[in-house]
Amino acid sequence: MELETRPETFSIFRTQENDPACQSEQHLGQYYTVPPSHFHTVFPHGLPPRYQQQVKTFNEGCVMVRQPALELISHLKRADYSKPTLRYLLYGVKGSGKTMSLCHTVHYCSTQGWLVLHIPDAHLWVKNCKELLPSSYHASRFDQPIQASNWLRNFRTTNEHFLSKIKLRQRYVWTKRESTEEGRPLGELVDMGVSRVKSSSDVVGAVLKELRLQAGGTEGGFRLAVAVDGVNGLWGRTTLKKEDKSPVAPEELTLVHNLRKMINNDWCGGAVIATLSQTGSLYAPSSAYLPQELLGEEGFDSMDPFVPVPVSLYSEKEFESCYLYYLDRHWLQHSHSQTEEGKKEMIFLSNRNPSVLERLCAFL
């Protein structure tokens, strides 16, 4: 899929500032284009599916600069990375733009040269798992080979340039004949995890542990951004069952266990950015959107203290900007949608909710 680059023209809803680090309050409400060269490396798996369809249709990837993302980026710029990691939590009603703000922040982190650990949806690890193998490393835990190997493949695409630079600090033994020695590059570990699907969950655990140890280091130190979408899935219930039909608790899954260790703030040299999500969540009422309701007691205690970042619906300026963008991309085709009457009706029907507006404009 080729994404087009366009010549510079002045418009009220677009900005030419495509670098998230240089965006400020004056760009609020404007769309910036993610450069086509970055697109597939930075976002192999993070974007919402409807947005991916939109990128394919419009032949370009444009993201709106909004208040929550700018706030997060300014926190990340000014944080002290020698102290334990700060946890940021994006919360808001369904469809208000939490995942897109997370992706904007991930783009910022990757342009700044951080190592990005992007988990597209933690709920995918606690439901609909076809193969649940008992873990070889720990007797009572369960492995998920398919999910782990998929994630490792996407991780490899995002962080190619880091894989050869980071060296392992410990020897890992996989089976009687296979082991990875100390001092080997991380790329080898990841390749092994992708090819040997059976031990991929343990590889994920090893990768997370290595990155946690080496993130704050002074020699060849890199900053680590852990971006988790749907973090409330890690502390709820799962829909998976063991062979004797008893339910599996989240801590009995290797992937979830290792990810929880990552979200703890006992390491330094990076940041944890998380999003709550009711859409994929299990056993949560559809009107719940606050951290207390979705994380539950256990989740809230583990995440506490965190920096909450509320994501609201579109303001008037943002709605105008979105409307003009759709007009520009020839997406609003109905003759009445281009009139004032139609616009008022769209505001009424969608209540300025970004995802509802998107679905409404899809068939107008």
Partner: protein, 229 residues
Amino acid sequence: MSASITGLLKPWTPRLFLVRWSRYNPYYLEPEPRKEVYHIPETELTPEQKEERELKSVRPIKAATNSVTSSVFNDPVLSKFVNMMMKDGDKIIAKGIITQTLENMKRKQVEKYHKAPEGKKAEIECNPYAIFHQALENCKPVIGLASIQKGGKFYQVPIPLTDNRRRFLAMKWMITECRDNKHRLTLMYEKLSQELLAAFSKEGNVVKRKHELHKMAESNRAYAHYRWW
């Protein structure tokens, strides 16, 4: 006075029972869903409109059905298509399929538009409503056949069709085509959007069926005088 009004408003049954009839007393007037009618100021009303307003203030009005809206995006032809596609009264599913079809058509056309070179962009029609209406126009037969009995045998006689009948036939053919000749794994909206785009450019099975009907009518020209209306 009140006795005669209550006499008029009692439950009414017609003398001749039609297939689809409404239980409303003919005394009731139709509702007016369009917003523009109510925004005309007092001074600009014509005498007929003034009379109509007087009448509406005394007569009772029927309840509006769920399908009429005062929305600017309301399209009567599309509503009729949705009703024809509906099964077992499940309008939500039918409306959902139609909206997905419109979205799918628009997506395909907009993608083609953005990838096309500058000269070709003006020819690509992106409006799914325009495509739908044009496709339906292209599927409407001009002349139809009726089975008329003459001398013990039945002949297929070419007859003119009313506008409603033509529209009904076009929609019916479209829906049956999409339901029958579809691969097991293709979804309805995908097949419908393919057929509509084909009909827009005058290709596809539905337009073929219309041409076959025209050919049959042409070949049966000789029996045209069997029609007496």
